[in-house]
Amino acid sequence: MLQIRNLKCYYGRIMAAKGVSLSVRSGEIVTLIGANGAGKSTLLQAVCGLLPNWKGEILFEKKSLKGLAPPAIVKRGVSLVPEGRLIFPPLSVLDNLKLGAYTIYRKKEHERAAANMERIMELFPILRERSEQQAGTLSGGEQQMLAIGRAMMAEPKLLLLDEPSMGLAPLLVEKIMATLSDLRNEGLTILLVEQNANAALKIADRGYVLETGNIVLQGASSDLATDVEVKRAYLGKDYDEFYEGRT
């Protein structure tokens, strides 16, 4: 569904992605793991058109996304849940969700948007309870649900998530990941960028490890989860040994 070939992204003169290639097949969850500054967010921003200055190839459903502005990309079926959630705090939960459907929410399509809204309220019942509340007054976990719901309002085929677990308690992370898993089972394709490799690899089908702008490892998530290098760098193997040594 999504193919990225030899992607190079620039922030001015700094190259943040140095020839990344990866692919996401229809109906799978693919995770992209990496530390701060590895170029994960850059890659997502390039895919959804927020960072137009890139070289290489990005194909979505076999068509190039080169030169397309964000509205066109959203219309094709790619939605981003941005890093740090970036909900709109002074607006109500309902207005936030309506904004998610900005590209489809026109006069004749109110019913379609209302149906989407209903689906998202089913998915996250807490959003229904809080629908009139200002989004800024929600807890971190609720805000993350809102951010995901908002992105789902645009009826994406491919959902990009930028560190949805950031700043959330482990229980909430599990809940969010379980929701993503459910969405995949309903047919959604997901590219999940995470630092929390443990949580991401649990639900993903395949994974890539990104380091300073290069893919250094890839494979099935079960393989990655047992890989010595990944364990050392992202899953905290040393940490386990440290405790094992003490007991």
Partner: protein, 316 residues
Amino acid sequence: MAIAPHRIIYLIFPSIIILAGLFVQNSYYLQVLTFIGINTLLALGLNLLMGYAGQISLGHAAFYGIGAYTTAVLTVHYGLSPWAALPCALAVSALVALIVGFPTLKLTGYYLGMGTLGFGMIVHIVFREWSDLTGGASGFIGIPPLDLGPISFSSGRNYFYLVWAIVMMCLVVSNRLINSRVGRALRSIHDSEIAAGAMGINTMSLKIRVFVLSAVFSALAGFLYAHFVMFISPGSFDFLVSIRIVTMVVIGGMASIWGALFGATLLTLLPEWLHAFSEFEMVVYGLILMVVMILLPQGLTRGVLDIYEKSKTRNR
């Protein structure tokens, strides 16, 4: 026919205007009320841009001036009827906003403030120095009054009604805009342009459109001002006027349609009340603004609503 409670304001507000027009006999008061209307238009336009879309403009007096000078030049030099000059005034202002908007709205925060400040100063200099067309620093005299068939708007009362009818129309238009799909998108830009972009909102185009709309509101105010006082000079459209419009928005309450009205009312009335302080007028004026901002940092509208809600919960 039932009327939704939030629409009742649309009945109350015109009634107040009509009653004010009937009962206020003193022509000085009518004049002040007319100025409040003109200033409300200015504040309303800037509030759409600044309060809702979060884009500051420190040069909005330029559009006010463009509206006033365009109609003055067209009616006096070219003998056009003011009603024919009106669309031209709005169009010129919109065009200038479009041209200026493209490069400046790429800026954000302080830099956008500086950019628009520079623009306002340039336009002010043009008004002052292009004396063949604008009359230069000594001003432009002989702007004709407005007539509509047998109705003459040269009387204070008729002009008062005209201005406030237009203000009401603009209030309704703004209100509808804000509560629409596009209005939501505007407010989203205020919070995060990245997130707005990720929703598929074309942020640049939306910012330019609201900038143009806000310039058109200002030009409309300029048109009404020019035909009301029938004399304009560059001093009415300088940097201080831009700052005054910003103050109206901030004092009244950002992102509030009624805030524009309250802010404009307070800032028009204050100088009139403070004449009694003669040479200390500006000091008292500044002090009052400081106190309002310290006590009601979110502006009059939000502040008064908060006090009202607090007293309601206390009484329970």
